[in-house]
Symmetry: C4
Subunit: 252 residues, 4 copies
């Protein structure tokens, strides 16, 4: 394997597909949101992307069968809207690797003739969240109005440090290719895997893209988390506000 390898599994004809990225990040918001789409809608695995900038690692499934670390792209039919959903277990591990990987993702997006790209993620607030706002960033200002109508907030110079990782580069490199791209970031504490923040992001997308998704399964995960949050808040009376690793493992 040399640098990066894109394996083609299927090449379905898609109509103006929307590309949606949900790799791991703050609160696993983007990953939870993207995986929820794969759970709820019918889809087909179209690409596997391998790179020597992922960790040298295999995952093991329930049976004991190994699979080389990779990202994958599914073609998903969301209420008649074609989506290309990118998921995976890792970000790249170096600067140059991030650029290479984001370029490979955009190559696939262009092959399928995507109309726009959404990079999903979380923005850490450092506090437990009551109301889940979704912050946005776009490649061109003509995207702002529609997204504001869908409930996305655009704040002056926020997030302060810009957007890093593959989400950031899908915008940065997408803009240079003239592919309209937006990043939707659910506010999240940053301490917990956060299905409620993922839901907030998906709700915005429902309006922006025009599909409807069922949230029952996500609600269950969110309720599990509610219990953990309650426990944490109890504990906060006693000591520090940072949940322990055990708490995080419970709800991960």
């Amino acid at each position: 394997m040399d640098g990066i390898e894109v394996e083609t599994l299927a090449n379905p004809e898609l109509s103006d597909p929307v590309f949606i990225e949900g790799l791991p990040g703050v609160g696993h918001v983007g990953k939870l949101a993207a995986e929820h789409l794969l759970d709820e809608f019918d889809g087909e695995l179209v690409r596997r992307i391998y790179t020597d900038d992922f960790p040298p690692q295999v995952s093991i499934d329930d049976e004991g069968v190994a699979e080389l670390t990779h990202a994958e792209i599914h073609a998903v039919d969301a209420d008649g809207t074609d989506l290309l959903v990118l998921t995976g277990d890792h970000q790249a591990q170096s600067n140059a690797g991030h650029y290479r990987l984001a370029d490979a993702f955009l190559d696939v997006a262009e092959e399928f003739g995507v109309s726009r790209v959404f990079a999903l993620g979380g923005v850490p607030t450092g506090e437990l969240i009551e109301e889940y706002t979704v912050i946005g960033a776009v490649t061109e200002s003509d995207q702002l109005a529609d997204l504001e109508d869908a409930g996305v907030e655009f704040r002056e110079d926020e997030p302060a440090g810009g957007i890093v990782g593959v989400s950031g580069l899908l915008l940065g490199l997408g803009k240079r290719r003239a592919i309209p791209a937006a990043c939707l970031m659910g506010e999240t504490s940053g301490y917990l895997v956060d299905p409620k923040s993922a839901r907030a992001v998906l709700e915005v997308m429902q309006t922006a893209i025009g599909f409807e998704v069922n949230f029952d399964s996500m609600e269950e995960r969110a309720e599990e988390m509610e219990e953990v949050v309650s426990k944490i808040q109890e504990m906060q009376g006693q000591q520090s506000g940072m949940p322990s690793d055990d708490d995080l493992r419970y709800i991960g």
Copy 2:
């Protein structure tokens, strides 16, 4: 030297050889197991593999003669079964280096027409071990039954973080080349060089591959370790359960 260099020392005709990897890792289980095969059976050095992703280092032998860090592959006749045994002092030092090195190893395996690959290693339990279980992972589910018969345990989603390093990649990249590969991981505390765990791995392999190896010399090393473990357990009465660096040096 540019990237990676494979030096050919011999090209014996082998019959359906089995490739066995034993590079350093947890408890040095894989390395001890592979080196035991080289000690007990007749063999011939067939390849040296150099890479600029190994540390910039020479080892010095008893006489004072230096040798550039490398991995080596011996053709070994194990009771009439041909083995290719890979040993060395280092893993690669970067992500891309791991991929390059594992690909080079698989190239050699394919040159010799191997029928399957075994990657040997240890899985850390954090506790001193009474009974040495061998955990497995495979590239294809049709390998499971035979290995279970040989005593390998396959556990749901274990090891939890997948398998990292060259062992992981021999499975991940081997699978992509359609070379059947299995990883055999002896349970081990993770604190000690563990010949007993290495023996457990070799016993499984005897059944799985079909050869018999004498364990007398390994028994000696294991008894030395037993003494150290006793000392440590005495010490545990007094203080922490982690052996000190001096203990580890003694038995390394």
Copy 3:
């Protein structure tokens, strides 16, 4: 994007332009000085430089529009003297990346036929500064007299560790291309963003290059900092001399 990409936005005819580098560094002295030139004089963006050795990141503007991290070069008319002013938010993130980037900057400098290069920066003293000296280094000793006349001090073996980063390489690689280059380093505490040190550097450059720039806006920033410095000096009566992160944020 592969390695480095230089985007051409304009190719104005310039007369013996002087290349001025002001990337982030100690006290942001070079960056403040270069940006002040862009604020005060008319200019035109001529090049954007992207590299996969910058962080994988986009910045977000006031509206919420993202822009891929890059360095940029403006052609500036300073009182009839042509300048090429290099600014940006990042240095390279690896050794090889620094070399590649500095070479790319010098390529642009040569395309425009620059007569000389000034790399601007700060040199940390560890103490709050009363009088702002500018320390220099050059590629050829025939540059010394003019710069000394302009008020630059050259001190034996100072800065002690040499000059690192892009500023250092513009001299080191510039010298190998026979482009006369000088580094002008304003003394600065190293704790604070330091507009006064940037002004000292610009005052030296006015004489050395022959232009005049208005310092009113810089004076404002400097006064803001004066207040912070006073506060810090008050605090120094009580505790340590290191300003807190909050102080730094206030004046950054």
Copy 4:
């Protein structure tokens, strides 16, 4: 600059030259020894070696003139014996960089038809040294007898971790090119710049290669260090045995 650049300054005809490497390392033993040869004998700069794996840095001389970080090779006439002496301020900064650099040095060695290579360095003992032993390692066992006659000690499996960095690779890669190479390592505390250890290494080389060098200037530096060592030993009565950074700066 791309990867590595070797600049040719002169190509004198040399008779069976001996290549001597003295880059920075433990106690700066190799560097002090090599620089002493340049101080005492007539020589000519024949090569400058630049690489983007050196730090992105220029050094500044007494006048304020900058020079890009590089290694350099002088042809030296030592009592009628031709030497090629390699010195510099840096080792490479990555694994692959070390390999590339050592290969470039050996290329130059082969261009000049060197008969053998000596890599000079220090081996840390962790204690102040009374008697300065020189430990050796070679590429071929037929070099052992002569070096033992010259006073070099060869110890079983010492240094324990092998030899790292450019010194190690000159042996490891030299051996693969069939260039006889030896590493001479002066014992040194590891805390101090150690001219006495450098002298011990040079004394061995005088016998091994066949030249005589004056040690007066080295004696001066050694005496300066003696004073510091005395001070440190006084201080040891009071507190810890590790000299402070200030002490080290004084004698560096």
